[in-house]
Symmetry: C2
Subunit: 257 residues, 2 copies
Amino acid sequence: MTKSAAILVIGDEILSGRTQDTNTNYIARFLTSLGIDLKEARVVGDVEEEIVAALNALRARYDFVFTTGGIGPTHDDITADAVAKAFNVGIGYHPEAYALLEARYPPGEFNDMRKRMARIPHGAALVANAVSGAPGFHLGNVTVMAGVPMVMRAMLEAIAPQLPRGEQVQSITVEAAIPEGAIAPGLAALQKEHKDIAIGSYPFYREGTAAPFGAQLVVRGRDASAVERAALALEDLVRSLGAAPQRVNTADSANGK
Amino acid sequence: MTKSAAILVIGDEILSGRTQDTNTNYIARFLTSLGIDLKEARVVGDVEEEIVAALNALRARYDFVFTTGGIGPTHDDITADAVAKAFNVGIGYHPEAYALLEARYPPGEFNDMRKRMARIPHGAALVANAVSGAPGFHLGNVTVMAGVPMVMRAMLEAIAPQLPRGEQVQSITVEAAIPEGAIAPGLAALQKEHKDIAIGSYPFYREGTAAPFGAQLVVRGRDASAVERAALALEDLVRSLGAAPQRVNTADSANGK
């Protein structure tokens, strides 16, 4: 049974537009590589009741929830307290986290705000932070990570061995210099014939080229041979419309929509 | 009274990690410039019941909801139908949208899939698309826009005159070459003294520099003089810790977290 996941991004800076979130995309690719289906993502601000409500909605519904943001030393870092409240458990200094952080600072510099980073909800296990020390944690099906992308990525690496591996989604992307609307009838028919795979269509416009309108047509599914069969049928469809289908590496075209 | 807003991003390609969403950040900045507070963002896949549920949750709670994605001609474009279902209204060809689209295509090329783009929920008003013709629409407090960034931006421009202007949030960003944890106690005290403004702290690490650990400290609020007073106090705090505060243009540092 394929596992499901959700992401909860926490931070006023995302909602104000100050910061472009890139963590969601990184975690999405990471989960796809493990064969876990990301089903939903949410962004909320640094407001305790919003974090609690979103977390409780998501953790009840999906197998895994990953949060980013709000676990630093400053007053606006309130994620650990919000998680404790969501799970209705206490919170306090985690001995291992406390010792680990204390060892990082010269005598007298491990102030009360830095100690906040050792506050971990009761019952949670630490997630190592190979970059800057202060750990994340996981509690139940929720993994709590930093917002700084470099730190978040290190935490994801640390938690990876504990996550299940599912059957990976296979995908083939076929590019065609055909306007989306011209291939849409054939795509709809193809989707009806291949119910075990999902066909997506992502139009592009390339100014200054001979045929500027085109689309990346993506075939996705967990059965590699079904995906290949659908891709071959898709390539036939493109040819029948007078264009040359081209398989492309989706990793290279992720921002090409 | 400040107006609130939410964004609903619709598309499997965001959740699979294939596409990095940039629309949320663009809309966030747009709303900030109008003085409207973006409170939440969600991403769901191309699944009707998910879109309906998210839309109904968000439109009940916030003054405005902006959706992106799923209004093209292909079978996976199901946003218009989902919106009609969420509002419990019918859906059909909108005469103006139909005429507008029909005029764009040579005879015989306005096929049934392209006609899908003229399907608009009953009671909705069109949102012009200066880029590629096929309109978005708004119904109640929900504005439905394309997912292709260039088209989404044009639709946002088109709807802008109909949105209210609120008092803009003023923000001042002070950069300091001080580790976040060292300034955190002073920041917490400052936040307590200045309850009418919000102080955020965004750490950075600049490898290879003399003082690699630092933070961007952001003061935000709707009262410009209160923001300025807090920023001056913040600069004093930075100096008291032996560093030189530097005001920076946040527009230049949006991705610098």
